[in-house]
Amino acid sequence: MQVGLTGLNCEEHLTKPFEFLLKRGNQPPEPRTIAPEDIRALLEAGMAAPSAAPVKPWHFVTIANRFRLQALGAAHTHGAMLAESALAIAVCADPEITGGNWSHEVSGVTQNILLAAVSLGLGTIWIGSHPSEERKAAIRKVLAIPDSVDVLGLVAIGYPSSGKPARAEFHEGRVHEEEW
């Protein structure tokens, strides 16, 4: 490298031949597939949640097909990340068989899936649908879920491309001792 060929000009010159590589790097890669045993472990963790009675009103639809993930992403206002996730789980419930409140039970289930995913090295986000009838109808349509089955929400899952640090959010003002 010649003395004087420094700074921006030099960098531009050097990177130009590799532009196609950089561009490829900017495209979202096909997400790394989640192993079937890890999918089962996530579902097993979900089903380890408590339920009233206990009647376990939950059902799960797992989606790994790219086109269906894209369709789901398009069907939900806040679902853009689904198109790039490796897996989605629709967390559902049969309201007929619950002895308690199905939406609370399957919220516990959903939270278990989120916690389990961390331990498996996966990243997740909970995308709510209940109580929005509109969102639920859109998801039902893509996944052929019967009208009698309720849809709490979707969990988008994949191997995270960036790390977020652990954090605590302790708010003393939300804690009341003995009485409010």
Partner: protein, 179 residues
Amino acid sequence: MRAAFTKKNGSMDKRLDFMFKRRSVRQYNDQPVSPDDIKAILEAAMAAPSASNLKPWHFVVVTSRGLLEELADAHPYGKMLTQAGIAIAVCGDPKISERYWDQDGAAATENILVAASALGLGAVWLGCHPRKERKSAVRKILEIPDNIEVLSLISVGHPAERKPARTQYDETRVHRERW
């Protein structure tokens, strides 16, 4: 029967031991729950996600024997509260999140149960919302304002019963790609 079911369908992945160990524990010894454990449990609760990150939750922590006994009388499935080290009333402010306060509170409740188990404590979830009589009884005892909802009571203590880790995996509840 249970063992056969587990062997056939469940894998109980070792990495998720802490999840399968969480059981509903209703018998406790008289060892108090330490302030450090209480703080850790509440921190775990507040580590739950909430819709739009609004965190609509409030927690009332009860250690007084008198109040625990009143709560035990007020909840139809709350008898174990007389033996509990603490109770936590998980509440929500619908003004902060009208549509999601209960789902967010349920996620916080589940975090409390998992955290308690990881700390060697035992806990059980006692549902309140949407049952008006349970909510108003708890509200009265804990002087919770009328504009605050009461999702659940959680009974926590040092376990006096041992329940093994278990799976409840049921393949018939899993649908691939579509229902």
